[in-house]
Symmetry: C2
Subunit: 118 residues, 2 copies
């Protein structure tokens, strides 16, 4: 049986998802690739979609998570701020803590699933 | 600021979501209303959709979560089995445990959001 569990944490700001799994994955991709367009490609989403997610996130935060350089010698590049790095780190810590806290009950729930060998 | 965080736990069985937030909410509605059709109405979903979710869940489990009585004096009624009740209970325990384990880091993340008073 290939059961697996996943927590998805979303932090809402009024009705909007301010911080969620898509935005955190995107931040990681920007950190790895150095640009929004390369991050979008790596995630299989449009540049427009990635740009909008970054805008939404930056607007929801007191300090921006991503800085972009639209002009100059390195035009088009993007990098995370300390805030952006902190969001990734805390989000992953939360996911791990949630999984560990839930481990015993999760094992019971997945044990209630039909076995493929059965 | 009205920030709030929500964990959504999904347990996958191969590629399918075997147990997730929609199915657990539906189990609770069936327990409260005593039928799939009334539960569907209470959740604003079609009877067909609710019925398919129940079928999917029952198929994924070693023991069914919902018993239906399609004939007889109480035709159309549905009730949870012990398995169904256990799924709800464990799922809510897991959500609470995850929230408690994550509380400190969550407070930091929500504190990074823009204040509406700012």
């Amino acid at each position: 049986m290939t059961a697996r569990a996943r927590f998805r944490l979303r932090i809402y700001h009024d009705a909007m998802v301010a911080i969620g799994p898509g935005k955190v994955d995107l931040l990681e991709a920007i950190a790895q690739t150095g640009s929004i367009s390369a991050a979008a490609r790596a995630m299989g989403m449009s540049y427009r979609r990635a740009w909008l997610l970054v805008e939404e996130l930056n607007q929801a935060l007191a300090q921006p998570a991503v800085m972009t350089a639209t002009g100059g010698a390195h035009g088009g590049g993007a990098r995370l701020t300390g805030t952006g790095e902190e969001i990734i780190r805390r989000y992953r810590v939360i996911e791990d803590a949630a999984m560990q806290a839930a481990a015993d009950d999760l094992a019971v729930l997945t044990g209630m699933l039909k076995s493929e060998d059965g």
